[in-house]
Amino acid sequence: MEEVVLNYGSTAWMLVSASLVLLMTPGLALFYGGMSRGKSILNMMMMSFGALAVVGVIYVLWGWSMSYGESIGGIVGNPFDQFGLSGTIYDEAGEFALDSFGVPMIVGVGFQATFAIITVALISGAIADRVKFSTWLVFAGIWATLCYFPMAHMVWAFPAGLLSADGPLATALGTNPIDFAGGTVVHINAGMAGLVLALIVGKRKGFGKEPMKPNSLPLVMLGAALLWFGWFGFNGGSAFEANGLAGLAWVNTTVATCAAVLGWLLAEKIRNGKATSLGAASGVVAGLVAVTPAAGALTPVTSIILGAIAGAACALAVGLKYKLGFDDSLDVVGVHLVAGLIGTVAIGFLATDTGLFFGGGAGQLVVQIIIALVAVVFTGVVTTVIALALKATMGWRIPEEDEVTGIDQTVHAERAYEGITS
């Protein structure tokens, strides 16, 4: 076997990718902060920053080990196997251990940590303006541990993970599931958790009656821009090398997102007569989410198709919460769950070699539907248990009076902007 040597170029790319994905979480803080009402901007941003702080710390303690450590039944890694990254960083010679691409393992740890962080932060949009900050921080730690790390293990710890390439499911069905950069682990996972929390935490006072418009659309667009920028690390970095595949993922990510913006704006224009900037920003995210699992498996042209569909579909989906009556405040379900499902399943049709439309038969489609369903069910159940346990113990909601006055003032003793009274 050829010895792996340090690949400086791929290492550079993975260092950059990790940095880009880390930036996504503050980007999300801005995106969500801008979408929330003026009296809860800071709390919204703090939910992202809080998730970042909590998950960042636990990832190096037990998160990596639960994701990639010795497998327990293909479901989760042993948290004690590489607790605190013991045995992860250095090889037996005391040199930095390398992965099969010649990239130091410690770089991979950083890269993977950023995925766990953003996934948890994404959920917060479903429960804006109304939850105790302490409950949120505890939820972040528990949910990452019981829901994210197992999902990451199942999909990415190959070949041990249940849903991984060459894993048990793939072997049984004879087809590898495709989830290039985390459609199941990140978006279906976060979107489904958001749905569960929205239902269990309950609605904001005034939901469905007051408009609750974004307090700052420039902040929303800035957030969307930083998310897009960071997503190049997310999808491009998921090639694990600085190579043509990374380039393909980069281009597919860009064009799918462009098409999704056009799709969303067109749907809005047709339905309401006006194309909004909130629509453009949301279209950005919808496109990015949809292309996440597919970025390495499509061509630029099929990526455009996927993006356009996802953009238009999410534009319609975000209105559902009013009809169905759950307060998914900032559209985590309408964007992440819906586009995550669309992207994951669309691979079954559009994948360049194995998709139904490209002569690959139905095998890919079936396996894609299965992994999507497993993710929905697994997350649904685990999140329900965690959320109900927290409801019974710490409680989720701040007092209604504090919610009306504004969570920024009542929970964080601050207001986002100071005017004349400063």
Binding site: E210, T405, E414, G419, T421
Partner: protein, 112 residues
């Protein structure tokens, strides 16, 4: 005609609006303000320093009404805005000599 001016807690705006509407008022004007009064005694610690908070955010509501509604409607406003805590605000009434609806140029009680 009269003008009722009410300086109230911002989170009471919705209730005051709803109460006035229920009482038959068909229009009002709102603006941001900040005020101090007895509420000011209160101190806050921020970043390791203690401050006397001076001005706290309020909302000013102005309603033009007919003379005979003054007592009823100030009562409506006071009831809706009351929490019983210091800082609930003030309501005051002044005489208005003339009111004109810009759209039509109509004046007097018809313009309300």
């Amino acid at each position: 005609m009269k003008l009722i001016t009410a300086v109230i807690q911002p989170h009471k705006l919705d209730e005051v609006k709803a109460a006035l509407e229920a009482a038959g008022v068909r229009g009002l004007t709102v603006s941001e303000a900040s005020g101090y009064g007895r509420q000011k005694g209160h101190t806050e610690v921020y970043r390791g320093a203690e401050y006397t908070v001076d001005l706290v955010p309020k909302v000013r509501v102005e309603v033009l009404i007919e003379d005979e509604d003054a007592t009823t409607l100030t009562g409506v406003v006071v009831n809706a805005a009351q929490t019983g805590k210091i800082g609930d605000g003030k309501v005051w009434v002044t005489a208005v000599e003339q009111v004109i609806r810009v759209r039509t140029g109509a004046s007097g009680p018809d313009a309300l």
